[in-house]
């Protein structure tokens, strides 16, 4: 659990109170205690994020930089994954639909699968792997090398600069990446349909939009904000409060990916329930 202590430091002959944070040092004996301590710590971390995100000053430049690194730099990986998923899903689904003589439903079926579920979840998992591990390792190494402490001492707010910007970037970049992945995935599906058949692009995409409804698109996009937020939050938390030492960096990166991916599935499950309740 994060331990917050107040220290009196002297800067330019002025006495300044700086809030110092230390990584959890109390190692609980029971696994349950450890779990609940972790939950409490994460809750405090989340509340602090909401407090810091509202409070000025805003780190716009760092936010832009992180958005570029997290969003733009992830695009090739996400696009390739999306394309392959669309292609493979189409090729795999074709024989089953052919058994019922309903190959013409292939674009509609693939579109609904990609837009509603596969696109957001696969992209979020890729995102958790690439971005979550990156953020976790970066913040953990900064923690190990005491850069975060140094920022605190030099009157910078490391939480605002390092954590808030990354969580915000992850929250807003993942939906965009999902939209790109969906688009590229549908193109992959178009290629997949045309491997064994001959469907014009116009017919293919008109069939897709015939089968889609706002009820498919909006919940799928909205849940990706939560995916991004969860991945960013867990990655920054794990990196920010990593154990000192090189071992802590690897552990932080690993748990950021594992917990981030798990959170994606948990949020997805909740989102499905909420969507079905709202639609009925």
């Amino acid at each position: 659990m994060a331990k917050i202590v107040s220290q009196q430091v002297y800067s330019e002959n002025k006495q300044v109170e700086v809030i110092m944070e230390e990584s959890p040092e109390i190692v609980p004996d029971s696994i349950f205690k450890k779990f609940f301590l972790e939950v409490a710590s994460l809750t405090i971390f989340t509340l602090r994020f909401f407090k810091e995100v509202i409070k000025p000053p805003y780190e716009i430049n760092e936010l832009m930089k992180q958005s570029f690194l997290i969003g733009y730099k992830s695009l090739p990986l996400v696009a390739i994954t999306g394309f392959i998923i669309g292609l493979v899903l189409t090729i795999q689904s074709r024989p089953t639909l052919a058994k019922f003589g309903s190959e013409s439903l292939l674009p509609a079926m693939v579109a609904v699968s990609i837009i509603r579920e596969i696109g957001p979840v696969i992209t979020a998992l890729i995102f958790a792997g690439k971005v979550g591990s990156g953020i976790g390792a970066e913040l953990a190494s900064m923690n190990v090398t005491e850069q975060i402490d140094a920022m605190q001492v030099s009157d910078n707010n490391p939480f605002k600069y390092l954590v808030v910007t990354r969580i915000l970037s992850a929250t807003f970049m993942l939906p965009l990446l999902v939209i790109f992945a969906d688009g590229v995935g549908l193109m992959g599906s178009f290629v997949g349909v045309n491997i064994k058949g001959n469907v014009s692009a116009y017919l293919f995409f008109s069939q897709i939009f015939q089968s889609l409804e706002f009820g498919d698109l909006f919940p799928a996009v909205i849940k990706t904000f939560f995916f991004g937020f969860a991945i960013g939050l867990i990655a920054t938390y794990k990196g920010y409060y990593s154990n000192k030492g090189t071992e802590g960096v690897g552990k932080a990166a690993n748990s950021a990916v594992v917990l981030g991916s798990l959170m994606v599935f948990i949020i997805d499950m909740i989102a499905v329930q909420v969507t079905s309740v709202l639609q009925n």
Binding site: Y72, F100, I179, F180, G183, E213
Partner: protein, 287 residues
């Protein structure tokens, strides 16, 4: 600094493109649901909507022209369906148009199908209540299908009995199929029939020849009949003493006359012979 600006531009393009794709997706999906077109409202009251839902398509002559806006129960026997139809298709829907509930393919969603109505009627107006026809209930189909299946079961049972009988050689067909002697008999019958048909054919050819003989014979008989008729007439005439021969044969006086004529002729011939002899002997006429 330059690098920072380039990163910002690339980020800007990335975000703009993402938002653009999202907006396009919203537009195309909304276009399908007639969100960006002018529409007019119609309603219809059904007894049973058979699973029709809000957002299902409305079809006119097989083309999607609108969507279902609302489905609500108004009483225990009626459900009101509110329909949004594309304004451009209003001119094709007449006052007597009828709405029915169908489905998009065998396993597809339900759809409301509008039949346009007759040409002479007025064009439908906003908030008009359209006439409806009740959908075919799957349960009813299943009930009639069950009766059919029961009947089929009875028929197949009977067929099974018949096949068993045939297999065991019972009955005419069974014997015919399973008993070899019957088969041989049938075969020989067929051969005989074949031969018979060949003979019959030859007979028929001959009959054709006989026909011409008969025709000729018929003619001969006709001729003979007319001859006998004539002969009978002649005989009658003869018998009644009419005509030369009749008189000759039947008239006694005529016979006597003839007889005397012949006597006279005989006498005359004798005298003529004497005359001729004398003439020969004379010097004047002697030759």
């Amino acid at each position: 600094m330059k690098k920072k600006i380039s990163h910002k531009i690339r980020l800007g393009i990335f975000v703009s493109l993402g938002i653009l794709i999202f907006i396009l997706a919203i537009y195309f999906i909304g276009e399908k649901q007639q969100l960006f077109r002018s529409t007019f409202r119609l309603s219809g009251v059904f007894k049973d909507v058979a699973g029709l839902q809000v957002g299902n398509n409305v079809r006119l002559s097989g083309i999607n022209v609108g969507t279902i806006d609302n489905v609500s129960i108004i009483s225990d026997t009626s459900v009101r369906v509110i329909i949004l139809v594309d304004e451009h298709t209003r001119k094709f829907i007449k006052k007597d148009a009828v709405a029915s509930i169908g489905s998009e393919g065998l396993m597809g969603n339900k759809a409301l199908i509008i039949s346009p109505g007759t040409g002479g009627k007025k064009i439908i107006e906003n908030d008009d209540v359209i006439a409806t026809s009740q959908p075919t209930n799957i349960d009813d189909i299943l009930k009639s299908l069950k009766t059919t299946i029961d009947n089929t079961a009875g028929i197949t049972g009977d067929l099974a009995k018949i096949t068993t009988n045939i297999e065991s050689g019972k009955g005419t067909i069974g014997r015919l199929m399973m008993d070899p002697t019957w088969r041989q008999d049938l075969q020989s019958t067929i051969i005989n029939l074949k031969d018979g048909s060949v003979g019959f054919k030859t007979f028929m050819v001959k009959t054709n020849e006989l026909d011409s003989i008969l025709i000729r014979l018929n003619k001969t008989i006709d001729n003979t009949s007319s001859i006998t008729y004539d002969l009978s007439k002649i005989t009658n005439n003869i018998q009644s003493g009419e005509g030369m021969i009749g008189k000759l044969l039947m008239d006694q006086s005529m016979g006597q006359n003839l007889d005397s004529t012949l006597i006279n002729l005989k006498n005359s011939l004798a005298e003529f012979e004497i005359f001729m002899k004398k003439a020969q002997d004379s010097w004047l006429l002697g030759f």
